[in-house]
C-alpha cells in the first residue's frame, strides 16, 4: 500500500512540475494545486499509513489501547489544506486580473519586468 502511495506522490509531483513548466498561467496554477496536494499526500504517507485504527482513546481510559493512527500528520495536512486553499483563492484572482491587465495568458509574453 505504502509503495503504491509513494508512486502516486511521485507521479503527482512530476505532473505538477510539468504543468508549472507550461506557458499558460492557468496551467501554471493547476500545477501549483497538484504540487500542494502532492506535498500533503507525502506527509500522509511518510508518517505511516495505519488502517482501521482511529486516533481515539476509549471511553474512560487515560491512554491509547492497541494500534492507533498518529493524529498529528492529519492536523498538519488540515492546516496545509487551509493555507493552500487561501493561496489558491488569491492565485485565481491574480491570474484573472493579470489576464485583464496584460491581455494575454502566455507567460513568454510577460517579460516586461525581467531584465
Amino acid at each position: 500500500m505504502e509503495t503504491m502511495m509513494a508512486y502516486v506522490v511521485g507521479v503527482l509531483f512530476a505532473a505538477g512540475i510539468y504543468m508549472m513548466l507550461r506557458r499558460s498561467i492557468v496551467k501554471l496554477v493547476i500545477g501549483l494545486i497538484i504540487l500542494s496536494n502532492a506535498a500533503n499526500l507525502l506527509i500522509f504517507v511518510v508518517s505511516g499509513l495505519t488502517r482501521g485504527a482511529p486516533p481515539l482513546i476509549p471511553d474512560g481510559a487515560n491512554e491509547v489501547v492497541g494500534a492507533v493512527a498518529d493524529p498529528l500528520p492529519q492536523a498538519l495536512i488540515l492546516t496545509a489544506i487551509v493555507i493552500a486553499f487561501s493561496v489558491l483563492a488569491f492565485a485565481v484572482v491574480l491570474i484573472r486580473r493579470a489576464y485583464e491587465v496584460v491581455g494575454t495568458d502566455d507567460l513568454d509574453k510577460m517579460k516586461d519586468t525581467d531584465t
Partner: protein, 504 residues
C-alpha cells in the same frame, strides 16, 4: 511566561484586526500604524533586554511541556531580528503616511502591513518547524496582496513570478517537513536536532537538509534561485519595495541560519560547501546584474541578491567569527537597504522617474538629500566608518582565516563592484545636470509641498542615524552579534533551554 515573547506577534496581529475594523477611516488606520509599529519596536527592545539578561526565553503555548506543545523561543539572533523588524516597521509606517496613494490606503494597505509584520515576527520567534511554515505563509499572503496593490501591468507580471516561485518553495518546505516528521516523529526544532543525531540513515538526513536549503534559498534569493526577486521587487510602490527589501528575504536567510546551525549539522562538509559556492555565486551574479542595470530600484534589487551572498558566506564558513560577521551583516543590511529604497522614493517624487537617464541635478537642489543617499550607499559598498565596513571586514577576515582565498577574492571584488554601481547612481541621479529631454524641471526647482512632507525625511534620517551608530559605536553591536553567534555555534544551549523546561 514572558509577555515580551508574545507581544511582538500579538501587537501587529491586533493592530491588523483593528485596522480592518476601522476599514472606513483611513486616518485612524494611519495613526494606528504608527502607534502599533512603535509599540512593536518597544516590545522588541524589551525582548532584547530580557534575552540579554536571561539567555534564552521559552514560552510553551497551552502549558503543555516542550516537545508536545508549540514553543516560542527567543535567542539572541531572534531578538536582534525582532528589534530590526520593529525599526523597519516604524520607518515604513511613517514613510507610508506621505508616500502611499489614497487608493492603496483604502484597499487595506495598513492591515496588510501589520499582518506582514506579524508573520515576520512569528517566523523569527517560533521554535516549531511546522509553525515556521505557517508564519511563512502568513507573511507571504500579506506580501502577495501588498505586491499587487494598485494593479499595474508590471505589478501583475512581477506578482505572477513572485507568487509562483514562493508557492513552489512552500511546497518543497512542506514536503521536507513531512519527511523530517516521518524520520524523527517530532516537530519541535530542539527535539528534532536532538533526535536527528541518532537517525540510522544519515543519507536521508542530508537529502532533507538539501530540500530545506532549496526552499529557504528560494525565499532568500540565493544563486541560482533568485530570478524572481529582480523581476518583482521594483514593481510595487516604494514603501512596499522597501519593506520587502529590508525584511522578506532576510526571513529566508534567518531560516537558513536557524536550520543549518541547529538541526542539520551532521554533514557540514557536504551541505556547507554547497552553501559556500552558492554564496560566492550569489554575490557575483547579483552585483554583475546590478552593474548592467539603469533603473534605480532594479539596481537596488540586484544588490539585495549580491548582499544575501555575504550573509550566506557567514553561515557557510561555519566558524564563530564568520557567524558573527553574518549576523552583523544581516543587521547592517536590513537598515541600509530599506533606507536606499526610501531615498529612491524621494527622488522619484522630486523628478517623477526611476530611470537613471531621466534623473539628474538633485545635488544642486537638495544637497542634504544627496548626503542622505551617500550614507547608506557608501555603507552598502563597505566604506569605513559606516556599518557596512565592519560587516564586510568581519566576513572577509573570517574567510581568510578559513583559508578560502578564492571566496575572499570574490567578496572583495564584489565590494568594489558595489561601490561602482553606487557611484553610478550618485553620478547619474545627484551629480550630473538635469538632462535636456526632461521637460518638467520646474518640479524640482519649485518646492513640492504636499502635506506630511516631513514623513519622507524622518525615516530616512532615522535609518541613516542607525547606520552611523552601528558604524561609529560598533563595539556593543559586535558584542550582540558575538553572543548570537556563540549561541548558534552551541546548539546544545538551545536544546537545553527548550527541552529543559520539562522538569518544571
Amino acid at each position: 511566561m514572558n509577555p515580551e515573547l508574545v507581544l511582538p506577534i500579538l501587537i501587529p496581529l491586533t493592530a491588523g484586526a483593528l485596522s480592518l475594523a476601522f476599514w472606513r477611516s483611513v486616518r485612524l488606520q494611519r495613526m494606528l500604524a504608527v502607534i502599533a509599529t512603535g509599540l512593536l519596536l518597544g516590545s522588541g527592545v524589551w525582548l532584547m533586554r530580557s534575552t540579554i539578561e536571561q539567555g534564552f526565553l521559552v514560552a510553551e503555548m497551552g502549558s503543555w511541556p516542550a516537545p508536545f506543545s508549540i514553543v516560542l523561543v527567543s535567542d539572541m539572533l531572534g531578538a536582534i531580528m525582532i528589534v530590526l523588524t520593529g525599526i523597519i516597521g516604524l520607518a515604513i509606517a511613517i514613510y507610508s503616511l506621505a508616500s502611499t496613494p489614497r487608493g492603496h490606503e483604502k484597499f487595506g494597505y495598513y492591515p496588510l502591513m501589520h499582518l506582514l509584520l506579524a508573520g515576520v515576527a512569528g517566523a523569527f520567534l517560533t521554535g516549531d518547524i511546522f509553525n515556521l511554515f505557517v508564519w511563512f505563509e502568513v507573511m507571504l499572503l500579506a506580501s502577495f496582496a501588498l505586491l499587487t496593490l494598485g494593479g499595474e501591468r508590471a505589478q501583475m507580471e512581477g506578482a505572477i513570478k513572485y507568487v509562483t516561485l514562493n508557492l513552489f518553495s512552500s511546497a518543497i518546505f512542506l514536503s521536507a517537513v513531512g519527511l523530517l516528521y516521518g524520520m524523527v516523529g517530532t516537530l519541535n526544532m530542539a527535539d528534532i536536532a536532538q533526535k536527528l543525531n541518532s537517525v540510522e540513515d544519515p543519507g536521508m538526513v542530508t537529502v532533507v537538509s538539501l530540500m530545506f536549503m532549496m526552499s529557504f534559498g528560494i525565499k532568500a534569493a540565493a544563486f541560482p534561485l533568485f530570478f524572481w526577486l529582480p523581476a518583482s521587487y521594483h514593481t510595487p510602490q516604494v514603501a512596499v519595495s522597501a519593506l520587502f527589501a529590508g525584511l522578506l528575504t532576510k526571513v529566508g536567510v534567518y531560516a537558513l541560519y536557524r536550520v543549518f546551525t541547529l538541526i542539520f549539522t551532521q554533514d557540514v562538509a557536504y551541505t556547507h560547501t554547497i552553501l559556500l559556492w552558492a554564496a560566492a555565486l550569489t554575490m557575483l551574479t547579483g552585483v554583475l546584474g546590478a552593474a548592467a542595470q539603469f533603473e534605480f530600484r532594479r539596481i537596488l534589487s540586484f544588490h539585495i541578491v549580491s548582499q544575501i551572498g555575504y550573509m550566506l558566506l557567514g553561515l557557510a564558513l561555519f566558524t564563530p567569527l564568520a557567524l558573527i560577521g553574518g549576523v552583523f551583516y544581516i543587521m547592517h543590511h536590513i537598515i541600509v537597504k530599506t533606507n536606499l529604497f526610501l531615498v529612491s522614493g524621494i527622488t522619484y517624487r522630486l523628478l517623477g522617474s526611476y530611470e537613471l537617464k531621466d534623473l539628474g541635478g538633485v545635488y544642486r537642489q537638495r544637497p542634504y538629500l544627496a548626503l542622505l543617499f551617500l550614507i547608506p550607499a557608501l555603507s552598502l559598498a563597505g566604506i569605513p566608518p559606516l556599518s557596512g565596513f565592519f560587516a564586510k571586514f568581519i566576513v572577509v577576515r573570517a574567510s581568510l582565516e578559513a583559508s578560502e582565498y578564492v571566496i575572499t577574492a570574490i567578496a572583495l571584488l564584489v565590494g568594489l563592484l558595489t561601490l561602482y554601481s553606487m557611484i553610478k547612481i550618485w553620478a547619474e541621479v545627484f551629480w550630473k545636470k538635469v538632462p535636456e529631454h526632461v521637460a518638467d524641471v520646474s518640479r524640482l526647482n519649485g518646492d513640492v509641498k504636499d502635506k506630511h512632507n516631513w514623513a519622507y525625511y524622518v525615516p530616512v534620517v532615522g535609518l541613516a542615524m542607525c547606520t552611523l551608530i552601528i558604524g561609529l559605536y560598533g563595539q556593543p553591536v559586535y558584542v550582540l552579534a558575538e553572543t548570537a553567534a556563540n549561541q548558534l555555534m552551541n546548539p546544545q544551549l538551545y536544546i537545553e533551554a527548550v527541552l529543559g523546561g520539562q522538569s518544571k
